[in-house]
């Protein structure tokens, strides 16, 4: 009698008293200025199912086994969590790993610390843990970011975004200015279109011969005018789209941007338009503005600060373009008469721009992935 009861007791203890519930992690985060801190509790059972932590295969997970694999666990978790300050990634690290008791068993409790490039206006959290293994997995978020927020991550909701509601005008302005600068410097299509316009500014083909520009000041002013026309047009469609007055069909706008790049490259080789380039720049500016409206709407407009945000964004775009112009035009001007500028910079550069524009156009307009270029 005694023996059977003891055997039953052992069996009972061995199966554990933890309750069955769907897989859930508990993510607590606190964003304070540029600093992040938090705690992320992930069920040991889930970590083991994903990583195979039970190294001696005895169906029991010990503290020793867990401690030795801390780096693996931390890497696995961090690769599946991203915190974004206005779309720029914040650095995140696991400072410590402890154990937390939950109603359905023990969890690894990861102490998180992080640093963002700037104090965010929009905080984005990307969560990708375990969805590939368990479609019913959920992440429960508890966030301190200008107040307390809750959130739920699921396979259909892998990103949550939070807006700082009490941001100052200056913060809004500086963030969108930065986003504008970033847009030019990181956006390939914007950069290529500008390059297409800048390359022939010091040397253009007319009536079958290359004609060098006469003076630097004139060249700079002409190019700056062109760039500004582009920005003004860009600002117009961007504002209309951001306010919600129209929503351009993404595919055709993207194809239009590709066509503008193609045209800018081709126009240097076989000039189709060499006068009134500013008006041409403005026409293409309208298309580019529509294209990035989507991205800016995605970033979100701050409540009550739309005008500031749009102004700042466009000023950022303009400043970045002028900076590129100032960096490129003067050296080109100096070397404009040398044959190598013509045959090693202008012609190959324009050819490259033309080709990239063509590939983009085919990919975007017909949805054919040529596998050569992204986007």
């Amino acid at each position: 009698m005694m023996r059977t009861v003891v055997a039953w007791l052992v069996l009972f203890v061995a199966t554990g008293a933890a309750a069955h519930k769907a897989s859930t992690t508990y993510l607590q985060l606190r964003a304070d200025g540029t600093e992040l801190s938090g705690r992320w509790d992930i069920a040991l059972r889930d970590l083991d199912y994903a990583l195979g932590l039970d190294t001696d295969n005895d169906e029991r997970l010990t503290w020793g086994e867990l401690r030795q694999q801390r780096t693996r666990i931390a890497d696995y978790a961090l690769r599946r969590l991203a915190v974004l300050a206005d779309e720029e990634p914040c650095a995140l690290t696991v400072q410590d790993m402890l154990i937390a008791d939950h109603s359905d068993g023990r969890y690894a409790s990861l102490a998180l610390a992080g640093h963002c490039p700037h104090a965010p206006l929009h905080l984005g959290i990307d969560y990708q843990l375990l969805f590939d293994l368990d479609a019913l997995h959920r992440g429960l978020l508890s966030l301190e970011f200008h107040g307390s927020h809750g959130g739920l991550f699921g396979p259909q909701q892998r990103r949550l975004r939070f807006v700082s509601v009490d941001a100052s005008r200056l913060q809004v302005f500086s963030q969108y200015l930065r986003a504008g600068l970033w847009h030019v410097w990181s956006g390939w299509d914007h950069m290529l279109f500008l390059a297409g316009l800048f390359l022939p500014a010091v040397l253009r083909r007319a009536h079958g011969v290359w004609v060098p520009a006469e003076n630097l000041r004139r060249t700079l002013v002409d190019t700056a005018l062109m760039v500004t026309m582009f920005t003004l047009a860009h600002a117009l469609t961007l504002a209309l789209a951001a306010i919600g007055l129209f929503s351009p069909p993404t595919r055709w706008v993207e194809a239009g941007v590709a066509a503008s790049v193609l045209f800018a490259g081709l126009n240097n080789l076989l000039p189709m338009a060499y006068r009134r380039l500013s008006w041409l720049a403005a026409a293409f500016g309208l298309v580019h503005g529509a294209a990035i409206a989507g991205a800016l709407i995605e970033l979100g407009m701050p409540p009550g600060g739309r005008v500031w945000a749009l102004l700042a964004f466009n000023l950022g775009v303009e400043a970045a373009q002028l900076a590129v112009l100032l960096a490129v035009i003067p050296p080109s001007f100096v070397f404009r008469r040398t044959p190598w500028y013509r045959w090693l910079v202008l012609v190959p550069g324009s050819l490259a721009i033309t080709l990239v524009g063509l590939v983009w156009l085919i990919q975007r307009a017909w949805g054919i992935d040529l596998g050569i270029l992204p986007g």
Binding site: M2, V5, W8, L9, F12, V13, A14, T15, G16, A17, A18, A19, H20, K21, A22, S23, T24, Y26, Q28, R39, D41, L44, R45, D46, D48, Y49, D54, E59, R60, L61, T62, W63, G64, L66, R67, L98, I99, A100, D101, H102, S103, G105, R106, Y107, S109, F131, D132, L133, D134, A135, L136, H137, R138, L140, G150, L152
Partner: protein, 407 residues
């Protein structure tokens, strides 16, 4: 000795109360066992992890995904552990949103969608399979029949039971028809037919016999015949134990029956081995509360611990948007928390997807406790539409009739 075990359970629950509320700690010894890892294996099959690894190496290979998903679903049936449902769904991810998936995938997907209460999508999958000449055809019919029985639509269930009749075993066909007849007011005739079929089908597969026993017990109880009801439940339990299996649905139904008979000791003995399953833990808590009120201090403490645990669990289910335990949530809010207003909200939601006589009874009780008998008008409409006769509902219905007719 038994009491020791119970204290052990209480101890284990006490140290794990809140969802992430308690402070994390560092174990002082490398040898400390932190978690018992389940290593489920189906009789005669590879372990779940082996099947998982085979699937992961070829994630779009239908047979590998199916083998893993089926094993996970089968283990969930035994354990009622939603993680296994999540594994199965992940295995079907490449086909999860495809309108046209292979038939085996469609059938599994329908089961998984039923489990997460996506009834409309599950119906779509079943409809696509129902006329198939493959074995999935009759299986889909039976699944839809069971779904419609659960939704309280015996008329629609009847069509599926009859259409599948020639292609399923006699016991399956009789159980299906008996469940339909029972809902339409002929529990006595249905039970006779089912008893006869059970006598002729001594070697029925486990799952089929347990379903038949549960239906038979319910039919008997509905007529107030508690002795045959108890016999059917007990026979089902014996078959379950002999197979070394667990059927949480049968256990929950039996516990409800025993609670109605005020046999709380039996409920406690029956359910104490299953503290991990919330549906069963809820019934255990109800029994232990009653025992506690009768002076059993240990039962009272256990009930309090379980109550804290269940409260957190239901709260988390709400946060997760999980609708699979709304009936239990309503029971918990009414009978444990004593919050009929909350229970009424949960029950109204539950009633939109499941309408069994036990739901009707619960809804009527909740509406009365909330002082809003008119809130259960849907139940009255359902009873008159189906023609259900159920002695358990009589006292509740009589209470409503006395002050003035509702209909």
């Amino acid at each position: 000795m038994r009491r020791c075990v119970r204290w052990l359970v209480i101890g284990a629950c006490l140290c794990a109360p809140a969802a992430g509320a308690d402070a994390p700690y560092r174990p002082d010894n490398d040898g400390t066992v932190l978690e018992q890892l389940p290593a489920p294996r189906l009789a005669g099959a590879a372990s779940l992890r082996e099947l998982r690894d085979q699937w992961r190496s070829r994630p779009t290979h239908v047979p590998a995904a199916l083998a893993y998903a089926r094993a996970a679903l089968e283990i969930n049936r035994r354990e009622e552990d939603p993680r296994y449902l999540g594994y199965a769904e992940a295995a079907l991810a490449p086909w999860w949103l495809l309108p046209q998936a292979p038939p085996e995938v469609l059938l599994l997907r329908a089961s998984l969608r039923l489990a997460r209460m996506d009834h409309a999508l599950a119906e779509q999958d079943l409809r696509a399979l129902i006329d198939s000449p493959l074995p999935e055809g009759p299986a889909a019919r039976m699944t839809r029949a069971v779904l419609r029985l659960g939704q309280g639509d015996p008329q629609a269930a009847l069509a599926d039971c009859q259409a599948a009749r020639a292609m399923v075993s006699a016991l399956v066909a009789t159980t299906c028809l008996a469940a339909v007849r029972g809902l339409r007011g002929d529990a006595a005739g249905a039970l006779d037919a089912l008893d006869a079929a059970l006598l002729r089908s001594a070697d029925a597969p486990l799952a089929v016999e347990l379903w038949a026993r549960a239906v038979a017990a319910e039919l008997a109880w509905r007529q107030g015949k508690t002795v045959p009801a108890r016999q059917h439940f007990e026979q089902g339990l014996r078959r379950m134990a002999a197979a070394g299996s667990t059927d949480p649905g049968l256990l929950a139904a039996y516990a409800d029956f025993l609670l109605a008979q005020h046999d709380t000791r039996r409920v406690q003995a029956l359910l104490t081995p299953y503290p991990r399953q919330d549906t069963l833990l809820l019934r255990l808590t109800l029994a232990q509360r009653t025992l506690g009120q009768q002076g059993d201090a240990a039962a009272l403490t256990a009930a309090q611990t379980h109550t804290r645990h269940l409260r957190l669990r239901f709260q988390e289910m709400r946060q997760r948007g999980d609708r699979s335990h709304l009936r239990e949530q309503a029971m918990f809010e009414l009978d444990v928390l004593g919050d009929p207003a909350a229970a009424l909200r949960s029950m109204a939601q539950a009633w939109s997807t499941q309408r069994e006589p036990v739901d009707a009874l619960l809804y009527l009780r909740i509406a009365r406790a909330a002082g809003k008998p008119e809130a259960a008008a849907a139940v009255h409409a359902w009873i008159s539409a189906t023609g259900l006769v159920d002695v358990r509902l009589e006292p509740e219905l009589a209470r409503v009739r006395t002050p003035g007719p509702l209909r």
